[in-house]
């Protein structure tokens, strides 16, 4: 009896410790960014593009990278969604439950999920060379889509798979086709999960440096067309960090702060939207 009580307590302590370690790292990261980023933060950072000599410590901001990142991640999220939604609906509504093709498709997405982003960057670059494209917003969008498509698809797939089979049956029994069932019942039931998947993918896309380094290039200007190179926040951080000037390095932390705030905002929005749509979900 004594031993079982001890066991119970021991494991409780271990679990709480593990949770605290995770929280501690989050706290440390946020603190570092705040302590080093806030002093370097100013309005110019988010309202101006880099002036000449920005990377030497002169005036300017990183509006080019903010705009570039938002366009790039937004475009990539849209492109991935347009591809992954039909995949998910096919796998869960049209295909037979245990069809070998479905299993193979899911396995492939899991493999793709694990491919490092630099590989997608290199692949995207090769593809661009083949197509005669230069480093551009479009190239970056395609490369980031490669990166986030598998995660978006599998995250959505897992949510849709959780749906009770009887819900589909109920819709079929009313004379609905598979398409009507997919769009009017499946998407609605899975909407909170689909939103979460989309926003997580967006967050992953906006934060990735390796996939855009060759494909999107870098520019000091806000991109005005898909064919122009675009700056991105992760690369802006990388370049600022790499200079020998302390004040520019401090700006890297300010840029990291901006990126973190964007991702935090995405998380909050996803929570809010999820809560709003959850009330219709059938358990």
């Amino acid at each position: 009896m004594q031993w079982r009580r001890f066991e119970e307590r021991l494991f409780r302590v271990l679990m709480i410790t593990a949770s605290l370690i995770v929280l501690m790292f989050l706290g440390m990261i946020v603190m570092t960014i705040l302590i080093r980023g806030v002093p370097a933060m100013n309005l110019a950072m988010i309202t101006q593009t880099p002036k000449g000599g920005f990377y030497l410590g002169k005036e300017g901001g990183i509006l080019n990278a903010i705009a570039g990142s938002l366009c790039l991640a937004g475009g990539a999220t849209f492109l991935s969604f347009v591809i992954s939604l039909p995949v998910v609906l096919y796998l869960n509504v049209y295909a037979r439950k245990n069809a070998p093709f479905s299993a193979f498709a899911r396995f492939s997405f899991d493999v793709l999920w694990g491919v490092p982003s630099i590989v997608y960057g290199a692949f995207g670059f090769t593809l661009m060379l083949f197509l005669g494209l230069r480093a551009s917003l479009l190239g970056g969008i395609i490369a980031v889509s490669f990166l986030i498509l598998p995660m978006m698809t599998r995250a959505m797939d897992e949510v849709v798979r959780m749906m009770p089979e009887e819900l589909l049956t109920a819709s079929y029994a009313l004379g609905a086709t598979r398409l009507e069932t997919a769009f009017r019942v499946v998407i609605r039931q899975a909407l909170p999960g689909i939103l979460t998947a989309v926003l997580i993918a967006f967050g992953r896309g906006i934060g990735d440096a390796a996939s855009v380094i060759f494909t999107a290039g870098f520019s000091d200007y806000i991109p005005t067309s898909l064919m122009q190179p675009a700056a991105t926040l992760p690369l802006a951080i990388f370049f600022q960090m790499g200079t020998p000037f302390p004040e520019v390095q401090e700006r890297a932390y300010a840029s990291a702060l901006i990126l973190t705030v964007i991702i935090l905002a995405i998380c909050l929005i996803s929570r809010l939207l999820t809560r709003r749509h959850r009330r219709h979900v059938i358990k």
């Binding site: 439950k97 009887e166 049956t169 109920a170 079929y172 609905a176 019942v185 979900v281 059938i282």
Partner: protein, 253 residues
């Protein structure tokens, strides 16, 4: 061809993989009556019910032979529009599954996909069918609230209203009261009694007392075979088959 029965089953065989679930079922389901399919668990009751509106097909590895003739048309024939077959029948499942939308939209779902668009028509359909399912009084002030917020008994009546809204001629119930409390069950049973003059109702039940209370006609199944069928009075008072007698007395279950 005579149309005296909505549903005529002719030599129906169903296999799940290698296992045979229904063996050569042949039976006519009487019109505008309540037919109860009884029998022990796993005897194929639900399979038979689902075969009436082709809901077996989404199941993996299912094979079907034989005919189910609905209104003179073999629904397993080639070129049959499966959505039209299903529209003829409302379905109540064991546990109610409202659709993930408001109460109003649940009832309007069927009519909408079958082409009714006008708000006024939909309003009428919703009100009418919720009244038939005797749910109107409880929900009229919150028609746009999520259906998931209703109690399980109310959800089952909502599912009934939803099924009736596509104007079926047949109502199928797969143990429709098994997840409900006695009070909600009585509600559903009362609805069935009201509706039987206008609809052909087929229910699967493992509750013998429910079959006695409701059924006009009874099918007794055992291990995928239809052992005996006939008017409820005769089945319950004087079954021809020894097996039916034993099941009704509670010897086999």
């Amino acid at each position: 061809m005579t149309f005296d029965s909505h549903i005529r089953v002719q030599d129906l065989n169903v296999f799940y993989g290698k296992q045979q679930a229904l063996c050569g079922i042949t039976v006519d389901i009487p019109d505008k009556k309540i037919t109860a399919i009884i029998g022990p668990s796993g005897c194929g009751k639900t399979t038979l019910l689902k075969s009436f509106n082709r809901l077996l097909e989404p199941i993996d590895g299912v094979r079907i032979s034989g005919k189910v003739v609905v209104d003179g048309e073999n629904i397993y024939g080639t070129g049959v529009d499966v959505t039209r077959v299903r529209q003829k029948m409302g379905l109540l499942s064991q546990k109610p599954y409202p659709l993930p939308m408001s109460i109003y939209n649940n009832v309007a779902y069927g009519p909408r996909i079958h082409g009714i668009r006008k708000r006024k028509d939909l309003d009428e359909i919703v009100e009418h069918n919720l009244k038939i399912a005797s749910l109107w009084g409880e929900v009229k002030s919150r028609l746009h609230a999520p259906a998931s917020a209703l109690s399980i008994g109310q959800q089952q009546r909502l599912c009934l209203a939803r099924g009736l809204a596509v104007q079926p001629q047949i109502i199928l119930g797969d143990e429709p009261t098994s997840a409900l409390d006695p009070c909600s069950s009585r509600h559903i049973e009362e609805r069935f009694r009201d509706l039987k003059n206008r609809y052909t109702i087929v229910i699967v039940t493992h509750i013998l007392r429910q079959a006695r209370r409701l059924a006009d006609y009874v099918l007794f199944m055992y291990l995928g075979e239809l052992i005996e069928h006939g008017p409820a009075d005769q089945i319950f008072s004087d079954p021809r088959e020894e097996m039916t007698r034993e099941y009704i007395r509670g010897v086999i279950s």
